[in-house]
């Protein structure tokens, strides 16, 4: 068990809807930006401005004029309560401001007070409130306890999406110089260096060379991990975590093997060495666009014909749903393929075409289940049919391993629970929120382990993988129970030239 400065919730058989208990998470405050340049690099004031009150209202007014979602969502809520038991953060913290509508109301009450007739003249009647320093701090604390996972929006009769509200709130906070350290520091890094982890080009090159050597040592095959290769067919854009930590890097090895076997030339790029786009988390169109444009630049620079994204949830949302808007049109790419493609779509096609030689038994040491990442599940698609985002990753997993079972129906697919660390919360200063937010997923996993003998959970999101690696031990599980989907693919994939020599070698090395 990891040590914690807070009470780690104990997993029960079910996640019961708790009675509300006000203020249980009011003390959780993600670190605020301390170095002004982390704000100014993003185009925001370096620190909280003096006239924040008026500036915040101005920004709110500006945003509701530019985003229909915000305007309609602020107006339309009837407080029916449908969303109140849907958020993973509420379910285990009991804090009513972590209920989707409770979270939204922090902004809505201010909107009503200053921008609606009823709120201006009858504030008490309609629950409208002045914007005070207290409310501002509530915004900061609670909008940074929302992983923007959109689970609530599935259940709202009007599709009100708390993610939209929390993005708007974060943009307002940024616009008055009250930004969150974690997100803003990372975005500043992407703008400067090219990826979230701040890995410079040579470091990436080093890692990739190392991987190539490992391939030769392990399989006797020259599997390449190309970087900045002009004229390659495919540009692979993947989260930078794939370059250096387990289990992410095993996923990267998987991609490499797949490309190798498919015989499709590919490359990664130092310009676009990051699939993630935290611009989305802070709701800033401008920053999101700036980050997204690197992908376009890299594709043009390298003269590729296709763009494929690696395993990352919010990155896939930005890629699938926003990239064409932010950095399109992509008419210079091969029109026969969707732009961009998900690596799972790519691999799934190859499997269907029978172009990969797979030995499922290589994964026989595991009984697998799959965690649907929230952004993939509720904000994107794979393939050409609705719901392909659920089927395609499962098809891939089932094609490469013998033992697969799903977790409880209410915790997968469009109803999937967030890992607890998405949306810009993947920072140690939010550990209490993250551990609590993981409870519904951990409960479902534990049940699957007890009832169906599940040993490992696969995911296609860098944030999910990092989050689970960190929180699994809090619940008495092992951190390596979380695996990459393409790690499984990599395990099962028999490399062509490996067959002749590899077969005997395999026998010798068998343990």
């Amino acid at each position: 068990m990891a040590k914690a400065e807070f009470d780690v919730p104990e997993l029960q058989e079910y996640v019961d809807v708790p009675e509300v208990e006000e203020g249980t998470m009011a003390h959780v405050k993600s670190f605020v930006v301390t170095k002004p340049e982390h704000n100014t690099d993003l185009g925001f004031p370096g620190e909280l401005v003096e006239d924040w009150h008026d500036k915040a209202l101005e920004k709110l007014d500006d945003l509701r004029g530019r985003y229909r979602s915000l305007q309609v969502f602020l107006d339309a809520c009837v407080k029916c309560g449908s969303c109140t038991d849907k958020c993973q953060y509420f379910l285990s913290t009991k804090d009513p401001k972590n209920m989707p509508v409770g979270r939204q109301d922090l902004l809505r009450k201010v909107y009503r007070r200053y921008f609606t007739f009823a709120g201006k003249y009858f504030p008490k009647l309609v629950g409208a409130e002045d914007l005070t320093r207290e409310t501002l701090d509530d915004w900061y604390n609670y909008y940074h306890q929302c992983s923007q996972c959109r689970r609530c929006s599935v259940f709202c009769p009007y599709g009100i999406d708390t993610a939209e509200i929390s993005m708007a709130a974060r943009e307002i906070l940024d616009s008055i110089g009250y930004g969150q350290k974690y997100c803003n520091e990372i975005i500043a890094k992407v703008h400067k260096i090219g990826n979230n982890l701040g890995l410079p080009g040579p470091a990436i090159e080093n890692t990739l060379e190392g991987l190539e050597e490992d391939m030769v040592d392990d399989f006797g095959v020259e599997v390449k991990f190309p970087l900045d290769v002009k004229g390659a067919e495919v540009l692979l854009v993947t989260p930078s975590a794939d370059f250096f930590v387990e289990p992410h890097v095993d996923g990267l090895i998987g991609y490499g093997k797949v490309f190798h076997e498919a015989g499709i030339s590919w490359t990664m790029s130092t310009t676009a060495s990051e699939a993630g786009n935290f611009g989305m988390f802070i709701g800033s169109y401008e920053n999101m666009r700036r980050v997204a444009l690197r992908v376009r630049e890299a594709a043009l620079e390298l003269g590729v014909k296709r763009i494929v994204f690696g395993e990352c949830g919010h990155a896939w949302r930005v890629a699938y749903a926003f990239l064409n808007t932010l950095a399109g049109p992509f008419d210079f790419l091969d029109p026969d393929y969707p732009v961009p493609q998900h690596i799972c779509e790519f691999t799934d096609d190859l499997i269907k075409e029978g172009r990969l030689n797979l030995d499922k038994s290589q994964n026989d040491d595991m009984v697998l289940t799959f965690h649907d990442s929230c952004n993939v599940a509720r904000a994107t698609r794979m393939g050409d049919k609705p719901g392909g985002q659920f089927e395609i990753p499962r098809n891939v997993i089932k094609a490469v391993c013998n033992n697969y079972v799903d977790m409880h129906q209410d915790t997968i697919g469009e109803k999937t629970f967030c890992c607890g660390g998405g949306g810009g919360l993947l920072t140690d200063d939010l550990m209490e929120t993250r551990v609590n937010g993981a409870v519904p997923r951990m409960t479902a996993l534990q049940n699957a382990m007890n009832e169906k003998g599940v040993t490992h959970m696969a995911a296609i999101c860098a944030i999910c993988k990092s989050q689970f690696t960190k929180v699994l031990p809090y619940f008495g599980m092992e951190m390596d129970q979380i695996v990459s989907v393409h790690q499984l693919v990599g395990n099962a994939l028999i490399l062509t030239t490996q067959k002749s020599e590899g077969d005997d070698e395999e026998q010798e090395n068998d343990d």
């Binding site: 309609v72 009513p96 309609v126 926003f322 808007t325 509720r378 698609r381």
Partner: protein, 244 residues
């Protein structure tokens, strides 16, 4: 009294129509810069029409979420619809509309009469839920209770007229079709009409904006085709041109 109600209803109608129109214009004019549809979502326009139909008529998402709220809410809304269709006969002459429409209005009459009970029942359920479930109580402002009470009393006073103390429908119809009738001075009718006027007055300023809102909700009404078709709004386009 008739004079007072005439004024009140002219004012209420004006506020209702103008207010609602302005809101609809505001929603329609506000851009949607990004594709944010909640997936899995239809990939064609006709698919979206179907999805919206299921949301508006069956409250599909609410059904997925909580069966109790759904039951009360759906009974309330469907009963309300029947009641409102039945009410049309107070405002239109049979020969002013196509025969089918009138037949429909006539057809609904018996159902509409009893639908009033459904409406009140649904409202009672929703009210109890608001009072009894601590999560819903926490998010409720006074206006949320009052809205239900108001609708409840409209229904109750209407039912009183229909089943207990009948009122002079012909006179009411004459009044509302500008044929110079005097409103009967019946207590339930006064309550009924005052609250209905209030309902119309607050409509554009309250959560009743969920009615136009649902049709404008981007997470429900967008087609899921961002890769196939580039989506860009004027302000985003301007930003793009400014920076390129």
């Amino acid at each position: 009294m008739s004079f007072f109600f005439a004024l009140l209803f002219i004012l209420a109608s004006l506020v209702f129509v103008v207010g609602l129109t302005l809101k609809i214009i505001q929603y329609a004019k506000t851009p949607v810069p990004l594709k944010i549809v909640t997936t899995p979502a239809p990939v064609t326009k006709s698919g979206v029409v179907l999805r919206m139909f299921r949301e508006v008529v069956f409250f599909e998402s609410l059904f997925k979420s909580t069966k109790w709220t759904w039951i009360f809410s759906w009974v309330f809304h469907m009963a309300l619809l029947l009641v409102l269709i039945r009410h049309l006969r107070y405002f239109i002459e049979p020969d002013a509309v196509p025969a089918v429409v009138w037949t429909l209005i006539e057809l609904v009459q018996p159902f509409g009469m009893y639908a009033g009970f459904g409406m009140v029942l649904g409202l009672v359920g929703l009210f109890l839920r608001r009072v009894l479930v601590d999560r819903v109580r926490y998010i409720s402002a006074p206006s949320d209770y009052l809205m239900l009470l108001m609708l409840g009393f409209i229904g109750f006073s209407g039912l009183m007229m229909t089943f207990v103390v009948h009122t002079d429908i012909v006179a009411i119809k004459q009044f509302f079709t500008f044929n110079g009738g005097q409103l009967p001075a019946d207590f339930p009718l006064i309550i009924h009409l005052s609250l209905v006027a209030l309902l119309m007055l607050i409509f554009p300023f309250s959560k009743l904006l969920h009615v136009p809102g649902i049709f404008f909700s981007p997470t429900r009404n967008q087609v899921d085709n961002p890769r196939e078709k580039r989506h860009i709004v004027p302000w985003a386009k301007a930003l793009e041109e400014e920076q390129n």
